[in-house]
């Protein structure tokens, strides 16, 4: 019955279930309908979302299962047991770099979109800096604190998304959804391509499962958690197409925010929903950025055991800021995002397969 002990630093499997959608839902949800709509016909894009989602859920489950089969061992420890220490160090280091890049990308995007939707004159550098300071403040706190933050924010995020969908329904035209299944196979594959980069983030499981008290239950909850963004993405996509039509969707840079701009609030209480929606969405992006930065710090602390967490964080933060200011325009940022999305996704798959096959070949026991 005991859920947590006095001054506990462990998390429950439910918190894993919340953390997974928290990191996955981020900037990607604002822009993915654009790229997906441009690959597919009418609303056919839901199929790639679903297929990509199922793959993502499977990988999530695999990662959680593999991590959970080494209870109370960090990624570095069990990876060293399977593929020798030097290689494990390299793997961990790459993870750290990749999650750092996710944090960088999220931060840059939030600054750009904020500038576009709520500011006009304020420089991107300042917006990003303010956001980064808050992220650092969160990461500098306790690690369980982050999971609690996720649990506080995720319901609000889901609620505002639901509200967005409900408010958009009266502009929904079902004619926009037709014809169905006219997209060719190659276009589906290309569509899946563009979806996959919005599904990244489940790599955090490699590191966080060790904090779970009952790791055996973790794979199931992680998989359930991963289903949340899949369902949400399908809903967002269909509503976008239903409201705008395929042609307009593929020409909007952030279709989801435009959806909010288009939404009508009954009672004219607020005139514009997009500012409200985007303001709340900052929480989602904050969740993604903090978890990504924290995983990066976590991975590095497992490599440099003697350096304290705060020191690593304070070394990383300026790097995050400087790299985030690197891309010059919108196009570069989104290319950067797609590239990171891919790399992280593929790298996760690669590590799963590598660890599993090498583990089997060398006969390392995966305890259940």
């Amino acid at each position: 019955m005991k859920r947590f002990d006095y001054a506990d630093e462990f998390i429950s499997e439910r918190e894993i279930m919340i953390a997974v959608p928290s990191i996955v839902i981020g900037v990607g949800a604002l822009s993915f309908p654009k790229s997906l709509a441009s690959m597919t016909i009418a609303a056919d894009g839901w199929l790639p979302i679903l297929v990509g989602g199922v793959i993502a859920v499977l990988i999530t489950w695999c990662i959680a299962k593999m991590s959970a089969s080494f209870p109370n061992q960090s990624f570095l420890t069990y990876a060293s047991r399977i593929v020798t220490k030097p290689l494990a160090l390299v793997l961990t280091f790459i993870f750290s770099i990749l999650s750092l890049q996710i944090a960088i990308y999220q931060m840059r995007q939030i600054a750009d979109i904020s500038k576009q939707y709520i500011f006009d004159q304020t420089p991107v550098e300042v917006i990003a800096l303010v956001f980064l300071l808050v992220v650092i403040y969160a990461v500098a706190g306790s690690r369980v604190g982050l999971f609690r933050l996720n649990a506080l924010f995720l319901p609000i995020i889901l609620f505002i998304l639901l509200l967005l969908i409900v408010f958009s329904l009266n502009k929904f035209e079902k004619e926009h959804l037709f014809p169905i299944f006219e997209t060719s196979f190659m276009e589906y594959v290309k569509g899946m391509d563009s979806v996959i980069s919005s599904y990244t983030g489940f790599g955090i499981l490699w590191f966080y499962i060790v904090l779970v008290k009952q790791p055996k239950k973790a794979p199931k909850s992680a998989a359930i958690g991963m289903c949340v963004p899949v369902i949400l993405y399908i809903l967002i996509f269909i509503v976008c197409i239903g409201v705008f039509g395929n042609e307009v969707t593929r020409n909007l840079i952030f279709p989801t925010v435009e959806l909010a701009k288009n939404a009508e609030i009954p009672g004219e209480f607020f005139e514009r929903f997009d500012s409200v929606f985007f303001t709340i969405w900052i929480m989602a992006i904050f969740n993604t950025a903090t978890l990504a930065l924290d995983v990066s710090v976590f991975a590095l602390t497992s490599i440099f055991k003697k350096t304290p967490k705060h020191k690593i964080l304070f070394i990383l933060s300026p790097i995050v800021y400087i790299v985030a200011m690197f891309p010059e325009n919108f196009l570069e940022v989104s290319t950067y995002g797609t590239y990171i999305g891919y790399t992280v996704f593929l790298y996760s798959i690669f590590v799963v397969i590598l660890l599993y096959t090498v583990g089997k070949l060398r006969g390392v026991r995966f305890s259940d």
Partner: protein, 518 residues
């Protein structure tokens, strides 16, 4: 730090001084003892020492007490009279030690009596209102409980008035307060653990909890923290609170304080712990969470639908008292597009001619509001009301007429003030006022973006904050869904058959929905 060290040094010097080193032990000689006592207290004029003979013998004895702290009837009827008169009728032993024993067991007839062996026992007892009985030739004294002094009667607490609920409140006397508690909880497992706080004041502090309900780790931690307290005096329980709280940087109160016995007993039943301090009616309740600060005992006294609505209203009040002026400033200076057109035009029209930007306007009004509140609190009730009228009418109306603030800003601030008054926990409502300023600055600098980032920062702080090891943000997060039936929703009383899970109580059932358990 350094000041404390100096104090300790001074104390050490004092005790080393041979002249002031009254012998800690009691002498056989009565006179010597009395001189020692007088020396120690420097012969105050409220010290009464009465020497007399034990009835029918030649043994000298004396009683000593502090005038005003004791019930003199009791001293006369049960001590002096008995020793002087009734002793006559009995066959008294000749040996002094035996005589002392007889007096202790047979003659003095007070309820609470003890034997003191040294001056430390004696002085503490004397100064707490006990009467000391000396018998010549004995190195011990009798300490009889004769405490009684003028005290305030029991009244309804002013700081927490309810429409429905018991009308009694705690008073300054800890004994009376514990009696209150005993009358609410007749559980043999109710534990009242005594501590003495204050180097010089030696105040009684009682930690109350129900054994078998409370998580023992909380008791252990509280006791550990109480033992660490080292200061001269604790005039109010606020000193204790600030000494043992988890984070002194936090704007949030990490324990609740109350004057209501019903609230304390309900908290103990939930598996919390209460700290009583002598000399103050305010009792501390540990641990506290953010949600518990927004609850009032009345939620349970009214029917569940009413209770639920009130809770919802309070969360709304909390929202308004933190965000409202900041949101107004953000909307008016950064996002006029979010305001419906007719309202936007109307705000623009009323702001026409106001010399300050909305942020300064809001700051001005909020500070005025705080001044009014502070002035009202310091003044007697009747004048306090006048201040309200002066503030409301003169400042509100004239400021608008003079064009210093816009009428809509007055509405915003007024609503904000009302909301902050409707939060049941005063300390929490004050911390919300502190946050309000932060949000106002953030809104002035970055509009909605600033507000949401500040909100995130407050959340980060809350999830990292703990009250005696219990996360401050629970049961929202870490989530205890089963506790949500008594969070914003207040389920019907029969369904509230479980104690809060977040407290990790030893006995988690407080009742049974199906009726009496066999």
């Amino acid at each position: 730090m350094s000041r404390r060290r100096m104090k300790t040094q001074r104390r050490k010097r004092k005790t080393n001084n041979p002249e002031e080193n009254f012998s800690k032990i009691l002498h056989k000689d009565l006179e010597k003892n009395i001189i020692n006592l007088k020396n120690m207290l420097d012969e105050p004029n409220d010290l009464v020492i009465r020497k007399f003979m034990v009835g029918g013998t030649d043994y000298k004895c004396a009683i000593a007490y502090i005038d005003g702290l004791v019930n003199e009837d009791l001293v006369y009827n049960n001590i002096m009279k008995n020793v002087q008169l009734f002793a006559n009728q009995k066959q008294l032993p000749n040996v002094k030690t035996e005589l002392f024993d007889v007096i202790y067991k047979r003659i003095i007839s007070t309820v609470d009596m003890d034997i003191g062996y040294n001056f430390d026992d004696l002085s503490l007892a004397l100064l707490s209102g006990d009467t000391i009985f000396y018998l010549d030739g004995i190195e011990q004294v009798l300490i009889t409980d004769t405490k009684q002094w003028e005290a305030r009667g029991i009244e309804e607490p002013i700081s927490e008035t309810l429409i429905r609920g018991p009308r009694d409140g705690f008073v300054e006397n800890i004994q009376t307060n514990l009696v209150h508690l005993r009358r609410h909880i007749r559980d043999p497992n109710l534990r009242l653990k005594k501590h003495y706080i204050g180097r010089r004041s030696k105040k009684t502090l009682v930690v109350a909890y129900i054994d078998g309900v409370i998580n023992p780790k909380i008791v252990k931690e509280i006791n550990r923290r109480l033992k660490s307290i080292d200061m001269d005096d604790a005039p109010e329980s606020g000193y204790i609170e600030q000494w043992i709280e988890d984070s002194f940087l936090s704007p949030f109160p990490q324990c609740l304080n109350t004057e209501r016995p019903d609230k304390v007993s309900a908290s103990l039943m939930d598996g919390k712990l209460a700290i009583f301090l002598d000399g103050t009616p305010f009792v501390l309740i540990f641990p506290a969470t953010l949600a518990s600060g927004l609850q009032s005992p009345e939620d349970y006294y009214e029917r569940w639908a009413v209770g639920t609505l009130l809770r919802g209203l309070r969360y709304l009040a909390a929202f308004i008292s933190i965000f409202f002026p900041a949101l107004y400033v953000a909307l008016v200076s950064y996002h006029p597009g979010m305001i419906p057109p007719k309202l936007a035009f109307s705000i623009a029209a009323t702001r026409e001619g106001v010399p300050f930007p909305p942020f300064l306007e809001a700051l001005l009004m909020v500070i005025t509001m705080e001044l009014l509140r502070e002035a009202g609190a310091r003044l007697p009730t009747t004048i306090g009301q006048t201040i309200g009228i002066v503030g409301g009418l003169v400042i509100g109306e004239s400021a608008v007429q003079a064009g210093i603030v816009s009428p809509i800003m007055v509405i915003v601030i007024a609503l904000n003030a009302i909301a902050s008054f409707s939060i049941p926990t005063y300390t929490l409502s004050i911390s919300f006022r502190i946050l309000l300023f932060g949000f106002l600055f953030a809104a002035a600098a970055f509009g909605l973006f600033g507000i949401i980032l500040s909100y995130i920062m407050v959340n980060i702080h809350i999830v990292n904050l703990k009250s005696v090891g219990i996360p401050y943000s629970t049961p929202f997060s870490p989530t205890f869904l089963k506790d949500w039936n008594d969070l914003i929703l207040r389920s019907p009383i029969p369904t509230l058959s479980k104690r809060p899970q977040y407290l990790e109580t030893e006995d988690d059932e407080s009742g049974d929905l199906k009726g009496e358990k066999q």
